[in-house]
Symmetry: C2
Subunit: 319 residues, 2 copies
């Protein structure tokens, strides 16, 4: 009998993992530093060491159906992590195979944004939906697309990179890709910070609470939010500008797959209505008639710390 | 035994129909004016009258598996044609039901761009592909998206309206939708004509063969092409500009579904390399590394007059 799955979320800094039952209850969880171990084999060995007591406590390995992994540039088809910019491991890493060999369990792997979408579908606000899109507004902008109840992977496993769609041709340079005007360069935490600095610089005479913070390091999406709720004009303008661009991008995504809902996730959603209102307004204004007032735009209700583990574990219960 | 299907393509002006076998051979075909008959029932009656001799010649109605229909704003789920701007029929028309009652055959209906994608998958250059996108560059810009071997319909049947994605925010006004900067306002026959007029007006002193044509009616995508092959600078610039915008839009679509190929179809493709080169260049320049030099960008090889009938008939053989 398979009662449990293991969910592993590999991030640039931390790797979180946990034991999850079929109902999405996390029985136990822990974390480790991603880039501390020597190479990927060292990482998997450490993961094994840390998970073994949790597995034993849950009744032993025979109670487990498998391990689901969410990782940057994770490829579901091949089980590999390919050229992930934030990880120390270079090239194409056969992560699913290495992990499966170590644990003697089936391993399924996908990219972190797809894992988040799986979590929303199984346990979150997209439960029961067959067509939706998850957008992660964090340090970067990630996306997971579900059509007919399945994650869209594309012919090579790399579909769903909506953060890199161009929404302001010739616009802001994205340092990581060298491309101008992509959604990620505006609607990420990094983008919000840049927008704030731009607005402060362009309006040198306008008073703003943001001027009390150092441009070098203290202006962040968090401080912009803090100033905005205090009624600061420039800080509010930052969210209006960000929402305008995000809303236009979402409208484009709606035209592609006509989803029932778009689920927003990640740090920026803490801004609540400050980001939701301008985003919704811009999305609706950019849609043709047959799509207007149809698409639910909602914040994820999953606890962010749990969602990644839940989503990864859900890969095992899929099909 | 079901040997044949009927394919019907309803256009704003003409409706084409034909008898098609399972191998995609059109045995016979004919056409009629779409908006001549009185109402939709009159239209279906006339279609029945015209098709009956073709059906008899093929061996009678018992040899037929069904009727596939491609129509503007056709909805696969409901079999209805909804608020089609180019048709005389107002509101929501239960076209599949009316036609099925008249012919006593199963009827499947989808929008015209999806039917074109079906045709490419069954009989065209996307044969055997599970992930591709068809873009129709005609009077407007239509699209059909195939993921995992299935047309993407979305939660309501209206997915795949990529011509209305915004690619130049705040840009050219699209008269039909009131939205600014959509792909259709640039990469359609209408868009090419507008771009030509804009360039002629902006550069009043630059000589151009296009100035021999009347701006009121004679500057068309066809005359722009004729001038471009004669080496006319402005006419060539029209295609470069159109290809730039189209290529950027295609890159955005690639990021969504990571297709194996994008198939271009419709009148503008007659410009051949004049449109293909700048489009491909702009698409590649806009893609992040993992997608570069991967996506085939190809012209449809199907005869345009046949493709719509073939695609519609293919709905019957699907599954």
């Amino acid at each position: 009998m398979s009662d449990f799955a293991i969910g592993v979320d590999i991030g640039g800094t931390n790797t979180k993992f946990g034991i999850v039952d079929k109902h999405g209850k996390i029985l136990s969880q822990d974390r480790m530093l991603t880039n501390e171990a020597e190479g990927v084999q060292g990482f998997v060995d450490e993961l094994y060491e840390k998970l073994t007591p949790l597995i034993e406590k849950a009744g032993g390995i025979e109670k487990f159906a498998g391990i689901g992994v969410g990782a940057p540039n994770g490829n579901y088809y091949s089980g590999t992590i390919e050229y992930a910019a934030n990880l120390k491991w270079r090239g194409i890493i056969p992560f699913a195979k290495i992990t499966s060999d170590k644990f003697s369990l089936p391993v399924k792997l996908t990219n972190d944004a797809n894992a988040a979408a799986m979590g929303e579908m199984k346990y979150g606000c997209a439960k029961g939906m067959k067509h939706f899109i998850t957008i992660t507004l964090g340090t970067g902008v990630g996306s997971g697309i579900v059509i007919d109840g399945k994650i869209v992977l594309g012919h090579d496993g790399f579909a769903g990179e909506l953060g890199h769609t161009i929404i302001r041709p010739g616009g802001r340079l994205h340092a990581g890709t060298g491309i101008r005007g992509s959604l990620e360069s505006y609607a990420s935490a990094t983008g919000v910070r840049e927008t704030a600095i731009e607005l402060l610089t362009k309006n040198p005479k306008e008073e703003s609470l943001l001027r009390d913070y150092s441009i070098n390091d203290l202006i962040t999406s968090k401080t912009v939010y803090d100033c905005a709720v205090k009624g600061d004009n420039i800080a509010n303008e930052v969210f209006n500008f960000t929402g305008q661009i995000l809303g236009e991008a979402l409208a484009n995504f709606v035209l592609f797959s006509s989803p029932e809902a778009i689920v927003l996730f990640g740090g920026l959603t803490k801004a609540g209505d400050l980001i939701m209102h301008p985003t919704r307004q811009a999305m609706e204004a950019s849609l043709i008639q047959i799509f207007k007032n149809k698409v639910k735009l909602i914040f994820s209700q999953l606890n962010e710390a749990d969602a990644a583990i839940l989503g990864a574990s859900a890969l095992i219960w899929d099909n």
